[in-house]
Symmetry: C2
């Protein structure tokens, strides 16, 4: 449904280096940052800070919580990652080298299904223009339950019984 990639002419690592060095106040590219970028772009799941640290630790890569958060913020700012607002904590996904898309979020299994609706985006930017609003990005998540979870037909839980 969504093509897997968009052609890019730099690796995520290169793009990040470029971002860092182009700052008014140049920033440094460290080993921890390199490991994070490589690990993150070596897979394609949505993740949150805690998951990332856990997975990297399991892969023998260690970094402190502080560095994880600090670097994630830079990666978002650099346009390499996109931050998703799902309610509680921040979740991240690839931005660079991956087409724009929105999500279905399954409230049962927590899975995120990507989709892309160009006409919706066109409609939105048109409306924004009419309002004199300068749109920079949007966040669209449709909450519900996914097909597998619906098929499962688990007897619904009576939340009020407690």
């Amino acid at each position: 449904m969504i093509p897997n990639t968009v052609p890019v002419n730099q690796t995520p690592e290169e793009k990040f280096r470029e971002y860092l060095s182009s700052r008014v106040k140049p920033q440094r590219f460290t080993e921890q940052q390199r490991e994070m970028v490589r690990y993150i772009f070596g897979q394609h799941e949505h993740f949150d800070a805690e998951q990332l640290m856990g997975d990297m630790k399991a892969a023998g890569l260690v970094l402190s919580r502080a560095t994880a958060y600090r670097t994630l913020a830079k990666l978002v700012d650099a346009g390499l990652l996109r931050r998703l607002l799902t309610g509680d904590k921040s979740r991240f996904e690839h931005d660079y080298g991956y087409p724009d898309h929105d999500h279905f979020h399954c409230m049962k299994c927590n899975k995120m299904i990507e989709f892309h609706l160009p006409e919706v985006e066109r409609t939105l930017s048109e409306l924004a223009r009419e309002h004199g609003f300068v749109a920079s990005r949007h966040n669209l998540i449709v909450h519900g339950t996914c097909d597998p979870c619906n098929q499962a037909k688990t007897p619904r839980r009576l939340l009020d019984l407690i």
Copy 2:
């Protein structure tokens, strides 16, 4: 652009009472809850928990933080309020008696501008159906800067100078 209200046949207070008494385990309607419902539906701004408590206190109505949060959760569950995910904290707005809509969120002045695009909703539910996804609600926020803030033309701040 958006009609101000949708016809409803119960006051918010009545609807909340009904919700409370229809629970498997009936809940009680207290004075603090009544004050909250009346205060909230007596105005029409978007608000967060802290603002609500501050405003109510200024109006001579007191309630504890715990009660504010607990009641807001019930009001959302009852379909009276809608919870908006703007990133940091939860913001709320009327749901009952107010048409579905989405938002432009101004990143400079924090204002939220409402809009309603039926065709977008139609497109989304169609796509959901195709995926076997059962959608229950969605959250769409377009971030950017609003017309007044754009007109203001304040010299842009060099965030990197620090």
